[in-house]
């Protein structure tokens, strides 16, 4: 085949396949994290805690919606917040003994709602790293809600807050490294 004909075929081929779709910028950091931190995801299966006497409300295990307006508001003795929803998390892999509970307060009509993270049995993050709690709604961008570490006891309680309008369908905790990429991996909505 002549060079000219060969070049002409390449030109036809380029026009035929067209431009590739451009991956969103955030995907690079997310894909890198997903690959290089493989096996270090602490939990990925949130479940709704049965609410005592109303525990008959057996909600789907992997699907949570913060917008459950019908959720009961439960007062907890000794805790200043009014818990509207709680999720439990279970460690996996090397952190399988770890458990966590996240309590979300009623917004009370305010733009932010309080949240409290209780962690047990989770060893301090390895390699000078730290843990991060993420949430994601559907296929939207994951949102990093809280960075934390644990002492040697593996137990920590952290009070924080989140936007009241934030809803999610998945949540998980990852190990983050301080010398990771400079590119912001996630951002608040």
């Amino acid at each position: 085949m002549s060079d000219e004909r060969h070049i002409s075929e390449i030109e036809d081929l380029l026009r035929e396949v067209g431009a590739p779709p451009t991956p969103p910028e955030h995907l690079h950091a997310v894909a890198r994290e997903a690959a290089l931190s493989g096996g270090e995801v602490i939990a990925l299966a949130p479940r709704v805690r049965p609410r005592g006497r109303v525990g008959r409300l057996a909600l789907a295990a992997a699907v949570l919606t913060a917008s459950a307006a019908a959720a009961l508001v439960i007062g907890v003795g000794g805790n200043a917040i009014q818990i509207q929803r709680t999720i439990h998390m279970q460690g996996v892999g090397s952190a399988s003994a770890a458990t966590a509970q996240v309590d979300f307060a009623s917004s009370g009509g305010h733009p932010v709602r309080e949240m409290v993270l209780h962690v047990d049995g989770l060893p301090p993050a390895p390699n000078n790293g730290y843990y991060e709690l993420w949430m994601q709604h559907g296929n939207g961008d994951p949102i990093g809600l809280l960075a934390f570490d644990t002492p040697q006891s593996g137990h920590v309680v952290i009070h924080s807050s989140m936007p009241s309008g934030l809803s999610w369908t998945k949540c998980w905790v990852t190990v983050e490294r301080p010398n990771g990429t400079d590119v912001p991996v996630m951002q608040l909505a």
Binding site: I10, L27, R32
Partner: protein, 195 residues
């Protein structure tokens, strides 16, 4: 390129072949090699996944899974069985197919009254492979050649318009275009896209 073990070896990732990069990922768990593979193949992989999966958000999840598979399974790559590009294509296609299987409803629809005129599975798969290979080859071009090729053939600009867009002499655009096309021809011949 041999991969030394037990010594520190500086590797120029930009000059390393795809196959070398995969071996670095497999043997040394080299994050820089992984980054280089991502840079070279992210658009091609994303393109394959979008073709198969369609939905943008779901495609992003699948691309994550595909590159996580590259990191996990790099040791399974064997040069004698084919190119790294073909291996990466298979990883991408399989990840996309897994995603599709996961969302297929367990309800069978009635057969349509009219025959489907869309490309069959074989034609569609061939077109997907062809697009993947071409896109990866374009992304492997030197930047100055890639930009003129993309403007001319993906955006449909004339060479004069490319020259104006890039503020380059027309002769330079023609030289870079020709050089880029020749390089693509060589690479695609290696990948057996062009006979």
């Amino acid at each position: 390129m041999g991969v030394a073990t037990g010594t520190l070896v500086a590797v120029d990732m930009s000059a390393a072949s795809d196959e070398d990069l995969l071996e670095l990922v497999a043997r040394r768990r080299d994050a820089d090699a992984f980054e280089a593979l991502y840079s070279r193949y992210s658009r091609a992989v994303y393109g394959v996944v979008r073709r198969v999966v369609g939905d943008r958000g779901r495609s992003e999840d699948v691309v994550q899974e595909a590159f996580a598979s590259v990191w996990r399974a790099a040791a399974s790559y064997r040069r004698e069985r084919g190119t790294a590009a073909a291996w990466l294509f298979a990883i991408s296609r399989n990840a996309a197919a897994d995603a599709l299987r996961a969302r297929v409803p367990a309800v069978l629809a009635d057969p349509p009254d009219q025959p489907d005129t869309a490309p069959g599975p074989g034609e569609s798969a061939a077109a997907t492979l062809e697009a993947f290979t071409v896109h990866a080859a374009v992304d492997a071009l030197p930047e100055r050649e890639r930009e003129v090729i993309e403007l001319a053939y993906f955006e449909g600009l004339s060479q004069s318009e490319v020259a104006e867009r890039l503020s380059l002499p027309l002769g330079t655009v023609k030289t870079r275009t020709r050089s880029g096309l020749s390089r693509l021809a060589d690479r695609l011949a290696d990948q057996r896209v062009m006979l």
